[in-house]
Amino acid sequence: MSDLLSLARKIDDRFPEVVQEIVEFRGDVTVEINRSALIEVCTFCRDDETLQMNRLSSLSGVDYWPEEPRFAVHYVLHSLALNHELRLKVYAPGDHPVVPSLTALWHGADWPEREVYDMFGITFEGHPNLRRILMPHDWTGYPQRKDYPLGYEEVEFTFNFERVQSKKPFPRE
């Protein structure tokens, strides 16, 4: 939609060095910004009269291994009054991914950021309680990264039946 593009360009005008790219795909507009300016851009989106993005709709992480920058965090901001949405995307490098946390603006970002931390290992600065949420608390590794194995069990055929059965931990009773 062209009006979404114009709204995205407003962000570009307001924060010129921060916006890396504006992508339009199938009618939706994603604004890719520098991660250091995330909180300012979100505050602007929330307070500006024409944007009024008062709701954080979604927060997800993506792993683009082996491309660099490896990680991305994708935000969907939605406006209840004006009924439009805008998407922000923030990239983080592979070796030490740190992204500012949005919990100061919206408390609802609490658990989704913990999930992204748990699954990808991206640290969110300013998060009050960054612990593992879905995996057991002493799990090592970040499961949703592309270099983490799926961890599946081999399909048992007659030729490998004994080998697979010996690895299965049956209880001793």
Binding site: F25, R26, D28, T30, N54, R55, L56, S57, S58, L59, S60, G61, V62, D63, H74, V76, L80, N83, E85, R87, W106, H107, G108, A109, D110, W111, P112, E115, N129, R132, I133, L134, M135, P136, P143, Q144, Y148, L150, E173
Partner: protein, 425 residues
């Protein structure tokens, strides 16, 4: 596996480590108030196995007497790694996994995922399939609300309503079985339309059901609406303010119970919802009772939508003709070479979507269900992330139940209407 008398049968024989208990208490510093460490307040673990937690949810409670000071939910006990598992399967095969996420909203999950694929691929859906998708999504909504009613009211103490609701749900589930052969995990909604056309027994059964269900809903309302025990337990309990809704990203009945009129079926309609007339119930009190009234009314509105869709159901194909994504019918395989080639390609490698990212949202019975689909141009999804309503609502438990009694906590848990499969994925 015969059991012998030497088996470990007493939990007292299981060693408990005093140091681990102290370490565990230290970990809680910052998450509970300091009064828990002096013993002024009671730390209670409402464990993963509990009749009222609707699945495997662990709630860490800090109680002062019976009043809840902190209630922190711990999830992850049902984490299935669905998103990572979907990255290892082709798009069509990964559809099967979406059924099992929110297991009360199987067709809704299918629909959301298929809408995302259709958006990227720019795949058309014929009108007959669109109307059927609406009918199925609304039937699924009624079925989910029936299970919600059953478990919520069971927690509040009325056991007979549970039996009534499950009896009604059997009718819906029988209809799903007529269409797809499966009661719950149907995978009936596929990219491009539906898996197969309607069977002959579906529409008469649906007509009969539409006459049957409103009377039963009247029965439930008569039982519960003015029931003094129910009113005592639910009015004024678990109040959610409008600021909380915006702050915590609540959607669905949590938002509409507090006066924020946001229904995705009206705001950004999908699969033809704009053609149907229906009301969206709205209340302003924001308590458990308001959300109960909204859900019962939503069931009635769903019946209204289904009646409109059923009366105007168009004829025509049930799935798109785009052979790049939709397999040809088997009857064509004997005569057409292109059909064989398409069939072969779709069954071995699967279709590849053009690269790009989309976010699609639908109104699931619990709130806003969103799919963020990243495609890199290959046959398998690069990243599928589900924005599930239960996950976003459950984090508010501490806020919503602060200051209420433990018995009210049970009512609040039921009223938030979460499903752990939806939450943990």
């Amino acid at each position: 596996m015969t059991l012998t008398p030497d088996d470990l049968t007493h939990a007292t024989e299981i060693e408990s480590d005093h140091e681990t208990v102290e370490l565990a208490l230290e970990e809680l510093r910052g998450r509970v108030t300091d009064r828990a460490f002096t013993g002024e307040t009671l730390l209670l673990n409402m464990g993963p196995q509990h009749p009222s937690t609707h699945g495997v949810l662990r709630v860490l409670l800090e109680l002062e007497g019976e009043t809840v000071i902190t209630a922190q939910p711990e999830i992850g006990y049902l984490h299935t790694g669905i998103e990572k598992n979907m990255e290892a399967k082709t798009y069509e095969k990964a559809l099967v996994m979406t059924d099992r996420m929110d297991y009360l909203n199987n067709l809704g999950n299918n629909l959301t995922y298929c809408l995302a694929i259709e958006k990227i691929a720019e795949l058309d859906v014929p009108p007959r399939a669109q109307y059927m998708r609406v009918i199925l999504a609304e039937l699924q909504r009624i079925s989910s609300h029936l299970v919600w009613l059953a478990t919520h009211i069971l927690d509040l103490g009325a056991t007979s309503v549970m039996l009534y609701c499950f009896r009604d749900r059997e009718h819906i589930v029988d209809m799903f079985e007529m269409l797809s052969g499966q009661r719950m995990m149907t995978s009936y909604i596929r990219p491009g339309g539906l898996w197969r056309d309607l069977t002959e027994d579906f529409l008469p059964a649906l007509r009969k059901y539409l006459d049957y269900q409103p009377k039963k809903l009247d029965d439930y309302e008569r039982l519960l609406d003015n029931n003094p025990i129910f009113l005592e337990r639910t009015k004024g309990v678990g109040v959610v303010t409008q600021e909380m809704v915006l702050d915590w990203g609540m959607t669905g009945q949590m938002a509409r119970g507090s006066g924020i009129n946001y229904d995705i079926r009206k705001a950004s309609p999908y699969t033809g919802y704009e053609r149907f007339e229906f009301d969206v119930p709205l209340r302003t009190e924001g308590d458990v009772y308001a959300r109960y009234i909204i859900r019962i009314e939503e069931m009635r509105q769903s019946l209204r939508i289904i009646r409109q869709a059923m009366d105007n159901l168009p004829d025509g194909p049930f799935r798109s003709n785009n052979r790049k994504y939709v397999p040809p019918p088997r009857s064509e395989l004997g005569t057409s070479m292109e059909a064989v080639i398409h069939h072969f390609k779709l069954w071995t490698e699967g279709y590849s979507l053009p690269p790009g990212e989309v976010y699609v949202r639908t109104e699931s019975p619990k709130g806003e269900l969103g799919v963020y689909l990243v495609s890199d141009g290959g046959p398998k999804p690069h990243r599928v992330h589900f924005r599930t309503p239960s996950f976003w609502h459950l984090q508010t438990l501490g806020e919503v139940s602060k200051g209420y009694l433990v018995a009210d906590l049970v009512a609040v848990l039921g009223s938030i209407d979460f499903t752990l499969g939806d939450c943990d994925r």
